[in-house]
Subunit: 576 residues, 2 copies
């Protein structure tokens, strides 16, 4: 995994390079941050010629480590105008790692819109014209691409939203069984891929040898410990059974479940859309329904599901907490079947369900459709795919939607929609939303796990907790493993170093791992500063500072000065 594939999408030049000695120590998210700062003009138009789409494997991406293989996609975001990394499970990252690729860089952009597939095989890389894929929705794209390039390939692709350059566009991939479609959803990276005229990237690893490991025995041993820790963690069982929707009830009880465009933190139909309900329906309806599905091979958590309709036919795989929160309660929709259909429609158009759900919520507040109107919401997502004017507004995300439709209550920071945790009653995640270079992003440092230790309504300890979580997230995103392996790690951070050392033969301690995470955050912040996304822009949405959130009736009250203290937090070197 020491090769870099550079594809100039304008000249169609493809070059395989060796990774520089320095870059070898950086994977996934950390690699993306470095690449952006070193090679991309921070002030460039994210959808112009100067931006790059970067697909980067985490340091453990090609290894047998559980959950490893989550692949980072990055670039300058058309949504936030700053650094963006979004990672995703599925098969493509695994195949890419097996091809020895540390990163694929899509550079420049063709003069005219184009629809091509980048095919990457052991001894062959080429841009294949595929006009037949133009405008295809995601499922159709996968079908045609697999038909043309083989069932066993790993695929990244975009939907019509990405082709139309919409800032809410995502990048899709499949799991190993083809049951799940997963997304590097946030930040509009699908649009960056779209303007480069790349509809899909296909990794065919046929004929490649097993990836190298410095000390297989040590790796197996360390992984075994990790797996055991996960198995011992009660959350793992819960996640396998109920998936991420398990926290619908938790968040509803805390009063942070976004409801009707973040006007309440509790939803009267929370039970009808909860993890428990979903699990029961999957069992009851049977058919194609499934729970406990893994998005990457070798994952022992298996938090995904396949959600079936009343006849047992799959509606969507997978139905996750964030999407239910944004497309469901946030739109006042309490029918889980409808939510699953909306989620599937977002998937088909290739748009981030979080961003799109938030945009629909704002459109509902503007009166385009009433809250609770699932058919209206469907219509809006279909319009995204058709590229109507309204569809383009929604597809460009919540900030553009609020601007065009003249809505003041816009749940976004740095241009990106808030995920499904209202920060007014979970103050720690507000610190992350405000301060992370990624904009509002729960995966950048989700304070939900701190809610039992730290009063979620209080101001104390939130800034430090967020920073700690942000460093952890940066570490995990750079290793290419899942955020859900974080909790057990807290007890044994040196395991990280052991995994990395076993894979590469390095002599890292946990302190080196931590340094990598901190450096990643600093690099991202530096890129943002140069990109004009200044520290001043680090805050929660204005209305959350003055509008109390029922049922706790709290506003977001951590002062900006206190938020800014995050830059001087010092972590103990040996603590995760």
């Amino acid at each position: 995994m020491d090769k870099i594939l550079r594809v100039n999408t304008r000249t169609n030049t493809i070059r395989m390079e060796d990774c520089s000695e320095k870059d070898k120590f950086y994977g996934g998210r950390a690699y993306i941050a470095r690449h952006l700062l070193e090679e991309v003009n921070p002030m460039c138009d994210p959808l112009g010629r100067e931006n790059n789409l970067i697909i980067a494997q985490g340091l453990l991406g090609d290894s047998l480590v559980t959950t490893a293989g989550r692949c980072s996609i990055g670039g300058k975001s058309p949504l936030t105008n700053g650094v963006k990394e979004s990672n995703v499970g599925g098969l493509a990252g695994k195949r890419m790692g097996r091809l020895g690729l540390k990163a694929v860089l899509l550079e420049d952009a063709p003069e005219k819109p184009d629809t091509r597939v980048l095919l990457v095989k052991k001894d062959q890389c080429e841009l294949v014209p595929t006009p037949e894929l133009k405008g295809c929705v995601i499922s159709e794209t996968f079908r045609i691409v697999q038909e043309k390039f083989g069932k066993n390939t790993g695929i990244f692709c975009i939907g019509p939203a990405g082709e139309m350059g919409m800032a809410g566009a995502s990048v899709a991939t499949l799991d190993q069984t083809g049951e799940l479609v997963r997304f590097a959803a946030r930040g509009g990276l699908g649009a960056v891929m779209g303007v480069k005229g790349i509809k899909a990237i296909v990794f065919d690893d046929a004929g490649t040898p097993s990836p190298p490991v410095y000390d297989r025995k040590a790796l197996v041993a360390a992984n075994r410990e990790l797996v055991q820790m996960l198995r011992d963690d009660p959350k793992t069982e819960n996640r396998r059974e109920y998936g991420t929707p398990a926290i619908i009830s938790v968040c509803n009880a805390l009063g942070i479940l976004p409801t009707r465009n973040f006007s309440s933190g509790q939803f009267e139909h929370a039970d009808a859309i909860s993890g428990e309900t979903i699990r029961d329906l999957i069992i009851e309806r049977n058919g194609e329904g499934k729970k406990g599905v893994a998005c990457v091979q070798g994952c022992v958590i298996k938090c995904c599901n396949v959600f079936p309709d009343k006849n047992g036919k799959k509606i969507v795989g997978t139905l996750q907490y964030e999407n239910i929160g944004l497309l469901g309660s946030n739109c006042g929709i309490g029918d889980i079947d409808k939510i699953a259909e909306l989620n599937n429609l977002c998937n088909e158009m290739g748009v981030d369900a979080i961003e799109t759900g938030a945009a629909i919520g704002v459109a509902m507040e503007a009166g385009v459709f009433p809250f609770g109107d699932a058919e209206g919401a469907k219509d809006l997502i279909n319009q995204i795919g058709k590229g109507t004017f309204l569809g383009r507004i929604i597809g460009n995300g919540v900030v553009v939607t609020g601007k065009v439709l003249n809505v003041r209550r816009v749940p976004a920071t740095k241009g990106q929609a808030l995920p499904a945790y209202d920060p007014r009653a979970l103050k720690g995640i507000g610190v992350t939303y405000a301060m992370s270079a990624m904009g509002a992003d729960h995966t950048a440092g989700n304070a939900l796990e701190t809610a039992k230790r730290i009063n979620p309504l209080g101001k104390e300890d939130q800034v430090e907790a967020s920073y700690r979580l942000q460093v952890r997230a940066a570490i995990l995103d750079s290793l290419g493993v899942c955020l859900f392996i974080r909790p057990p790690f807290v007890k044994k951070p040196e395991l990280f170093a052991r995994l990395v050392n076993a894979r590469y033969g390095w002599n890292w301690t946990y302190s080196d791992v931590q340094k990598m995470g901190i450096e990643c955050l600093n690099t991202e912040r530096e890129f943002n500063r140069k990109a004009g996304v200044s520290d001043e822009q680090c805050d929660v949405p204005e209305f959350m500072r003055c509008e109390p959130l029922p049922p706790n009736n709290t506003v977001y009250d951590i002062p900006k000065e206190q938020l800014n203290e995050i830059w001087s937090v010092q972590l103990p070197e040996d603590m995760f």
Copy 2:
């Protein structure tokens, strides 16, 4: 002119205050910059409760000085997210000055949209509910307001675009005869007024005494000198005869006339839309047509016109260079009657013709209508008024239009559309576009006047020239006089001090006047920095750095580092 009227548009509290001792030395634009920095949260939503709409008279605003009475309107711009000042002639500023008002501040915003008139009389200020004005176009608004509050009042009002919170919305006023409707057009201040639920502000100065003057004789004498200098300037005669459209031919010859979304600097139909053609048509068609009309009483330049149709009936008053450039050549439209109609439609909807023309150009590039399709352009402006989704896109300006319609060639800096001088062949104005806190704004420092001394295609001396022009503009905008009195002043800058001293009894030298201008620029820059509009965002549009502009086939090549040198330019203290 030492009173400040504070209107809380939420609580309907109206308070008359004395101007602070310090603020007395700041008028118009300089007052706005100070007010924003001192009282408005720089990171606030420009259309939220925390922004203020500021109407501020220049220091000479209530005086007999020629061109004085141009009134500054300001606030945090919904278009640029930074400081905004836009000034305008007409009667309202004069009436406001006569009422002794230095500034009117509209604070906060009502909970629900509202349609009210702020009535300001000698001894009475009130917010009058006027539901009958809801959605009225500008001409209808003036008609109803005059009917209700008197013909002789000075009026500021907004059109449907402002009511709908569109970022391209303007604020309108009438000249003393009611023939001209003039606009504080740039930066979306009409939307700021709209969200405050104020459809119009009416100044009724009946019963007020003449404004105070410290030394009337000295003021008359200084003004006489100024008038003589203007009369001696050949440009004055030219402006009275041909108006600002005189420069269509000049700009076309220089190759800077924006044509088809800034893809060329020359337009094949330039002759058909030139100042000469306009003058000839006004004479030939006769009827309501007029040339040499003044926008403020007492102006000796009189650069405005009333442009009639073939039957002599007024289409629009006035038809200016920028609007012809943006709505005409930039949209590929070479029919002056159609351009006048488009201009009038922009006026009626209450949107900036520059921003809207640029947005239509981008929509044409996206293929919504072909270039040259005047009926298509009309349809778009009508859609603004109707608030259709497409209309709202266009009405929100060129950046939103480019984003939603997926166009890369977007002629804007800091969120605001470029006026009708392509910087690739007039490098000095590119410095202003890039570096001014106002975003792309020709009135912030128009380098056209330097084109004879400084090679417009060269990089040398442009930065210093732009700075000098920016300081001058800040001075004139803070005094409340027209930019067109700048050239004669160059020879006799101390006249500024004499005018100010005669009005107020101060002991200013020109150096004090210059300091005021420089301080104004610095204050604006400081507000922008705090508003997250950082120095990094100071550049020309990306495509202008790589796409050569016919016929000179030059790109914009003043490096960013050289642009940044503007902050260290030192001007001689005694030179204008």
